[in-house]
């Protein structure tokens, strides 16, 4: 009984505490850089698309809302199309975690409401940004063994030049 009275008093006293509600949109909350909002595709420091169409984001997605098709240009893999159905996305960030090239990243932007659900289907043009996002220095092709225009085989990090098979030296 007294406990109930105490509860009443304590609850009543909450009236004099400060509000936790943030008066969005007049007042904007601070979102940390690793907030999981709108998904983007970033570019590597050379300005090329980072995505190599490995399909790992698509397979990591628990709601299966990512789809893409690989295409290739001079050894470099690209997505021919890259589609995210944001009306299905649950912003879990698994795609970002799965991405081996830091291409797919979640951003602190969440203002993407639409009146028409069809508008929530984002294509590659909608997703691709011009910068590197959270990882300014990483370039997958400078680490990977494949050769691309501007980076010959055997010139990646920690690589020796290609073996000369015609040499007789051991």
């Amino acid at each position: 009984m007294l406990g109930n009275v105490r509860t009443l008093i304590l609850t009543f006293l909450h009236a004099f505490q400060s509000r936790v509600t943030v008066q969005y949109p007049e007042e904007r909350p601070y979102l940390p850089p690793r907030y999981r909002g709108r998904i983007i595709l970033s570019r590597d420091p050379d300005g090329e698309e980072r995505c190599v169409a490995c399909n790992l984001c698509a397979v990591a997605c628990p709601v299966d809302c990512i789809s893409l098709q690989k295409t290739e240009e001079q050894g470099r893999w690209y997505p021919e199309y890259f589609r995210i159905n944001f009306s299905r996305c649950i912003f879990c960030g698994f795609c970002e975690e799965a991405c081996p090239t830091y291409a797919i990243q979640l951003t602190p932007d969440f203002e993407m409401s639409e009146y028409n659900r069809q508008n929530l289907v984002y294509e590659k043009e909608d997703l691709l940004i011009s910068g590197t996002g959270k990882y300014p220095d990483y370039s997958f092709y400078h680490v990977a063994g494949v050769g691309i225009p501007g980076k010959e085989r055997g010139t990646s990090e920690h690589e020796r030049p290609p073996v000369d098979l015609h040499t007789l030296l051991p």
Binding site: C65, R83, R88, V146, P162
Partner: protein, 918 residues
């Protein structure tokens, strides 16, 4: 059976296996790289280390390579032993020292044996801080992509390519960690089985180039158990698709047929299903032009044509049983043609009769591998039935196996067996008009015209069994050859005679059957195999029908008002004159096909049919095995299986009696049941695969992996609303990631191979009863031809029946002046109709040339007159071609010609620059 102890647990195993096989069969996860069931063990990769104890008391034991140790009674080994496990982990670690950081852009990723094994050993962190070795890649042609950085030097590729498939142009170069697997210089891999490198290579050094163009990961593709349609061998394949397009073809193990390998035509010939030459809408001829019309209009036109009454149907040897039979039901048995010329049909019927009456064994491809003496009689099997050629390549190793058994060397100890085999003579005789790829491994190969070969064959039969007809006036050299062959076959236990209808010669097949029958008197295992041209030639022979010549006669007599041509390009069977005669005599020509052809261009109505990747169908291969293919892609209307056009039209002409049955057909099952009633010889075909009502673990089988991605987005650019997966009432499959799956699936219904911890094709071991044995759910397909050999249990044989030897011995062929015997040159790439719509196969095919014997060659080009049409053909000499014989690839420039035929040759002076056909 022997019992061995694996980590303290008693396991049953077969004697003669190596420990690695025994462990895998016992269900244990033991990593390996260089071992392959077909290639044996060489102990190159050091990955399958286990600890072996000498006795129950032995606590120390020693670490051994499991693949190099035989399993014996009481063997005690430990996989989980810490030292062995550490060794396995460090082996992977040093393999990964040079392995590049490029799994995301590797086509093997997700189905990579190296990935699986790395996870299995537990290696996860790179400790090595120094540089990686790199290599330059080679352009290996249109089929295979090369990425040498990924190599782990297991030597599987060269062992397969050189030792197993007989290739010459892939080798290991260099030493220590610079070892390089490739060609001496860039260029196309020449072997007909180069595509298998994709599956043989445990990592991504060799990958599928056409697949890379439309790449998607293994887990993202729907798989459909299917059957190759590019020759009559009937190799089992898996067709992978995504977004309703076919992406690739993979080998599907069938212990009886193709086992682990496919030929390149089968692996890369599927391109026609995606090609622009596909017919996607009904086409109606209006004012001489084809216009695409709606399904209703097409149906109305079809009904109008069919309702005319005087209707005739032409089936095809590349159409499924279902389609051919439903056409027969639509038009009636009397008005049904096989779509073959009289000559071809005679050959097909003869092949069927000979196989049916053969008193010995009708070998499967796997049986052929263990034949200890083989005679190839007038058939270039490497071109007409490439996978069969590969089986024969293995058969010549029988002698080395026997030597190994005598020397007490296990057969899987590959290097030792091959060393022993260098002294073992081959037991392969090849008698063909033109050189073949198998000549190099033959004991003796001899060149002659088909008739001469047939005569030698008859003589061999007579030598083995004197009651067989004798050959008069045989030349001395031929008699000697016949003697040698007869002696070799007579001493073998499992002799095999192979022939076929490549050269359109019934005498050749009859001679082969005579030899096989003569052998079968004393050797029940004596085998006969006859090669046929198309994937359903045998099935069509079983359905039967009138030949094309009879159709032309009727058409000219005005007895045909509507001709329904189903999945058949008549230009490949009839010469241009006869074809024009037929087409002009028939007012209405309806073509039902999936690919545009010269025939469909002349049709009044073209109806789009589903290709083999889009429907269910049953094919009968040359050994009489009925096998079913299932759809990987959902056919989008108006494209539908050819038989669906028949059933759709049936109600519009219900007044005709034979069509009654069609109206009631709803599913493929109904057709098979009706066919069983109508054609008793094909009654067994219903069991080619479980029917649509089959349920695995009381559910439909999923044909997509459980981790198929993109379900809610893949078509959201069209509409964001979700669609249910397309239904599949025809099949026991569900076009979805939800459904049942497991290693006990019936062999005919395995949509893809995957087992826990085994994502690569190596997961196959989990699906087999015993490694390299039959699948756990049974190998697919059902034999329709009766096998008389006693090894088949349950078949009681009437031994008293006397075999009637064929006695139709042709006169000897004599070369003539000014005329030459023109024979078709069958090519691996170029001769087969459908694969020539596939871009990589087209890239591999070379221009057609007329090949003449070496002595005859004079000019660059020759004018060839066939039926008043003259063709200017480039000429090349072919060393070893039989005298008086010329070969030319049929269909490549000349549409079709009857063969064998004698043609006059007019040499054109080198300065003559007129091009092409005149």
């Amino acid at each position: 059976m022997v019992t061995f102890h694996l980590d303290g647990k008693a396991c049953e195993s077969r004697p003669g296996l190596n420990l690695l096989q025994a462990c895998l069969e016992a269900g244990a996860n033991l990593p390996y790289f260089c071992w392959h069931p077909e290639l044996g063990s060489v102990g190159a990769c050091r990955q399958c280390a286990v600890r072996q104890f000498s006795s129950p008391e032995d606590q120390t034991g020693r670490v051994v390579m499991a693949c190099m140790m035989p399993v014996t009674e009481g063997t005690r080994i430990s996989i989980s032993d810490p030292e062995a496990a550490e060794l396995r982990e460090s082996v992977v670690e040093w393999m990964m020292i040079n392995h590049p950081h490029d799994c995301p852009v590797c086509e093997e990723g997700g189905e990579c044996h190296l990935q699986d094994m790395t996870v299995m050993t537990g290696h996860h962190t790179r400790r090595y801080r120094f540089t990686k070795r790199t290599h330059r890649n080679q352009d290996l042609g249109p089929f295979v992509k090369h990425e040498m950085n990924r190599c782990i030097a297991c030597y599987r590729c060269v062992r397969f390519y050189r030792d197993y498939a007989g290739g010459k142009d892939l080798a290991a170069f260099g030493s220590h960690d610079s070892v390089y697997f490739g060609r001496a210089e860039d260029g196309t891999l020449e072997n007909a089985f180069s595509g298998n490198l994709v599956e043989i290579c445990p990592t991504g050094v060799f990958t599928d180039k056409p697949f890379s163009e439309v790449y998607t990961r293994k887990w993202d593709m729907r798989g459909a158990p299917s059957v190759c349609v590019h020759c009559a061998v009937g190799c089992n394949i898996i067709v992978n698709s995504r977004q309703e397009t076919v992406r690739r073809v993979l080998n599907r193990y069938n212990g009886e047929v193709n086992r682990y390998m496919l030929c390149d035509r089968g692996r890369f010939g599927y391109g026609f299903v995606n090609a622009p030459s596909r017919i996607r809408t009904p086409l109606l001829r209006v004012d001489g032009q084809h216009v695409s019309v709606s399904e209703q209009d097409a149906m109305a036109a079809f009904a109008r044509f069919v309702g005319d009454g005087k209707i005739f149907g032409i089936a095809s040897s590349r159409a499924s049983l279902e389609s051919s039979f439903s056409l027969r039901e639509l038009v009636g048995e009397e008005q049904f043609s096989t779509g073959e010329t009289q000559q071809a049909q005679n050959c097909m019927d003869l092949a069927r009769t000979l196989l049916q009456s053969h008193p010995g064994h009708i070998p499967t491809l796997h049986n052929m591998e263990s034949a200890d003496a083989v005679l190839v009689l007038g058939e270039d099997v490497c071109a007409t039935a490439p996978r069969l050629g590969l089986a024969l390549r293995q058969s010549v190793r029988q002698a080395s196996f026997h030597a190994a058994d005598e020397a007490n060397v296990p057969r899987w100890l590959d290097e030792a067996v091959r060393t022993l085999g260098t002294d073992c003579p081959s037991a392969l005789y090849i008698l063909t008009p033109a050189p073949t790829d198998l000549d190099e491994i033959a004991l003796e190969s001899s060149r002659a015209a088909p008739d001469t070969i047939a005569r030698i064959g008859f003589a061999v039969a007579h030598l083995i069994d004197p009651t067989a007809p004798a050959v008069p006036d045989l030349s001395t050299s031929d008699t000697g050859l016949a003697q040698r062959i007869a002696t070799l076959l007579g001493t073998a236990e499992r002799p095999l005679v192979i022939s076929g209808m490549q050269y359109g010669s019934p005498a050749l097949m009859q001679a082969a059957a005579n030899i096989a029958a003569a052998l079968a008197r004393t050797k029940p295992q004596a085998g006969l195999s006859l090669s046929l041209p198309d994937c359903n030639s045998m099935g069509l022979a079983m359905i039967g029908g009138v030949p094309l010549e009879a159709v032309i006669d009727k058409a000219v007599a005005g007895e045909i008002s509507t001709l329904v041509i189903m999945e058949n390009d008549l230009a490949r069977h009839l010469d241009p004159v006869s074809l024009s005669e037929l087409m002009n005599a028939v007012p209405n020509v309806v073509v039902i096909d999936h690919t545009a052809s010269s025939c469909s261009e002349r049709a009044d109505l073209v109806l789009p049919a589903a290709a083999f990747t889009e429907c269910v169908g049953t094919l009968v291969n040359q050994e009489g095995r009925a096998q079913r293919f299932f759809p990987a892609v959902v056919a989008t209307p108006p494209v539908r299986p050819a038989w669906r056009w028949m059933t759709a039209i049936a109600p519009h002409c219900a007044e005709q009696k034979p069509r009654q049955d069609l109206v009631n057909w709803e599913h493929e099952d109904d057709i098979m049941a009706a066919m069983g009633r109508g054609i008793p010889a094909l009654a067994g075909a219903v069991n080619a695969a479980p029917g649509s009502s089959y349920r695995f673990h009381s559910g439909k089988i999923r044909n997509e992996t459980s981790r198929m991605s993109g379900r809610t987005v893949i078509r959201s650019h069209v509409s964001v609303r979700d669609q249910p997966p397309p239904p599949s009432p025809e099949t026991p499959f569900r076009n979805s990631m939800e459904g049942t799956y497991g290693p006990d699936l019936p062999g005919a219904l395995i949509p893809y191979f995957r087992a826990p911890a085994w994502n690569s094709v190596q997961s196959l071991t989990r699906f087999q009863q015993e490694i390299a044995g039959p699948l756990r759910g049974g190998d697919g397909g059902v034999r329709l031809l009766r096998d008389h050999s006693p090894s088949q249990p349950g078949i009681t044989e009437d031994v008293t029946t006397v075999y009637h030897y064929g006695a139709d011995i042709p006169p000897p062929f004599l070369p003539r002046n000014g005329e030459i015997l023109l024979l078709p040159e069958t090519r691996l790439f170029g001769s087969e109709e459908l694969s020539m719509h596939s871009p990589p196969v087209v890239a591999r095919s070379s221009p057609a040339v007329l090949r003449l014997p070496e002595t005859d060659v004079r000019p660059d080009r020759i004018e060839l007159r066939i039926q008043d049409v003259s063709y200017l053909l480039p000429v090349q000499s072919m060393p070893g071609l039989a005298h008086g014989v010329a070969v030319y690839p049929a269909h490549m420039t000349i549409p079709a010609f009857a063969f064998p035929r004698l043609v006059p040759l007019n040499a054109i002076k080198p300065d003559h620059t007129d091009g092409g056909a005149s």
